[in-house]
Symmetry: C2
Subunit: 348 residues, 2 copies
DNA sequence: TCTAGCACTCCCGCCCGGCGAGTGCCAACC
DNA sequence: GGTTGGCACTCGCCGGGCGGGAGTGCTAGA
């Protein structure tokens, strides 16, 4: 809500920004003297006190107890984040370091996994990456390979270069011609379709021929369905979960346990990371978070994609007292790099 | 060291066993009165005190402070574990629950992942499973599938039903005949070989023909090499990492952080789980653990395999104050189930 | 409208004493 | 001689009281 940003006169604004900054750095409640020691605000401590008192009643700050310094509330952080107009620049070293990680081409899985580690190391928080969603990829090619032991490997290629494969049991009595026939007709029909939008309706539209073929097609569709099911099988990669414990802000073990428990439930993380749309970095602060377990931390996410399509997302989980500027730029930069890689794949 | 077990007279033995049991249950140092309250040892508290004092000097017990009850030392736990001759029986419900999990056939990855979850839930500790090691599987069949975009999918089937696949870039100017030719000769040469033992020597033994073929074969070998590299790419699956935090024994955050950090380094966990040989469950207690980070906990592991071969291992990480009996039977039972599944696959 | 001064509040760390669990020892007992 | 009851002693834990210090809110004056 950038409009909120307008509501504060310049001095309050400056004081609030300085205070949030100090608090993020130190983790200690910030008093009027401490604030002046680090920032030249051109006024006396008493004035600061008056202003912080007002910021308090406005809901931007709060006091741990009556005679302590001030600490930002969620609203205070929100103001701070909204006021960070241009993203903090990444250090050259850091940017280069990240870029290099994406230089050597890898398969999708390693890429994503590496991203998780990279982001967690760059931020010292916990990174979550939602792996490319097959549901949003476009069908390109299906190959059927007979394996030993009456099994069949189906290999699905998509336009973003992802390759999905399943082993399925082969219905009995199918000849090699059946296989090539089925694969030819499936390829014709499915080319260009978005995987998430395949429905069993297609099965009927195929005049399959023998019941054996029909049952094969049906099995394949089941497998395709699983591959393309929205939200279902999307893999999530985590990095730096141990970092959670290094945060002095998470002194409360119960909170940490809930957090780790949340991260373990893959479908929850996956659902969470499904939210970001293409566009700028998104930030959820404290209670703004959709999940109970996360309401004592902050979340920074950005989508990555291939071309125009959103394919997944990168997220960072940290304390509300997070280095927002830095984290936002890392997340933004990394998701950009990922997008580049996938988009390049697509053109091949 | 079961010989240690012989060194104690029956009464000391009984007292030690009872005390370890009580401590595992309560987590509180056990005093002479508390011990008698739960176990009918037929002697007075004073006698217990004399005995525990001796057990203390023998190194089986220790005191948190002078006027507290006794707590088992690593040696005490070791004695206890060695004395658990026959594994605690699993509850019927639990055994059935585990068995059912292995009823419906799944692909290897899901199977292992599910095992990790299963074990962590059954024990309430943290489970680690080392996924089947391709290096130890036997080559069965290699298929080459041309993909869109000048890429090639190689599909490797093994005797234990595992299917490994890699996408590789296709050297230019190869015809379909080249592909079938290369795949035929590779299949002939490699059938029955153990993947971990493939060496580049084989490449030379093939009179490949064109340089294109030669370079293809070389690329394939690289990929096979990666698949079969000992210890390198072995995947580790974790379950219940959040459970670590639920253990009151891990009050010290630093210890927990080290532990989580260790679990994040996949190669370490993989190396750790490579230790167990086929055979009974293995237990490492406290300082017996090979890794510094684990020396404040205990580890229970068992190998699983296919036929005679060891393919991987299941492990549980918990506090030294662990419910050894129960954990050992779960680990043993689960690794048995896994072995059954893989062995069955092998016969297909 | 800002500032200087001041009384007040509340956290934190500290010490202290009482309580209770549990031990170690000793003398008596079988 | 091994076992037992008795008893003094040790030590961690808990609650209360106390001083120091950081920081505030208020008020009066510039």
């Amino acid at each position: 809500m950038p409009e909120t940003a307008q509501r504060l006169d310049p001095r309050k604004r400056a004081i609030l920004m300085a205070l949030v900054e100090d608090y993020i750095r130190t983790g200690e409640p910030v008093g009027s003297l401490a604030l002046l020691a680090r920032h030249d605000l051109g006024v006396s401590p008493a004035t600061i006190r008056n202003e912080t008192a007002e910021l308090d009643t406005l809901g931007y700050l709060q006091q741990p107890h009556t005679s302590a310094g001030r600490v930002p509330s969620s609203r205070g952080y929100r103001f701070y984040v909204d006021s960070l107009t241009h993203p903090e620049d990444l250090e050259d070293v850091e940017a280069r370091w990240i870029r290099e990680a994406y230089d050597s081409p890898r398969d999708a899985e390693t890429l994503i996994q590496q991203t998780a580690r990279l982001v967690s190391e760059a931020t010292s928080y916990t990174a979550m990456v939602l792996g490319p969603r097959y549901a949003r990829a476009v069908f390109r090619d299906l190959k059927l390979v007979r394996l030993p032991g009456d099994r069949l490997l189906m290999v699905l290629s998509t336009d973003v270069g992802l390759v999905e494969h399943r082993v399925i049991d082969l219905p009995e009595g199918l000849t090699d011609e059946d296989l090539t026939g089925v694969s030819r007709s499936l390829n014709e029909i499915l080319r260009g379709m978005i995987l998430g939008k395949l429905t069993r309706g297609f099965v009927r539209s195929l005049n399959a021929g023998s019941t054996g073929r029909r049952s094969l097609i049906s099995t394949i569709f089941d497998a395709l369905g699983r591959a393309g099911q929205a939200d279902a099988e999307d893999k999530v990669y985590l990095g730096g979960t141990a970092n959670i414990l290094s945060q002095p802000d998470f002194g409360d073990l119960d909170v940490v346990r809930d957090l780790l428990g949340f991260l373990e439930r893959e479908h929850l993380v996956s659902a969470l990371l499904s939210e970001p749309q293409a566009g700028p970095v998104q930030v959820y602060i404290g209670e703004e978070n959709p999940y109970q377990e996360l309401q004592s931390c902050s979340l920074v996410m950005a989508a990555y994609g291939a071309g125009e399509r959103v394919m997944g997302a990168v997220g960072v989980l940290g304390p509300t007292r997070m280095r927002y500027g830095h984290v936002m730029s890392v997340v933004s930069y990394v998701s950009g790099q990922l997008t580049d890689v996938l988009t390049r794949q697509m053109r091949r």
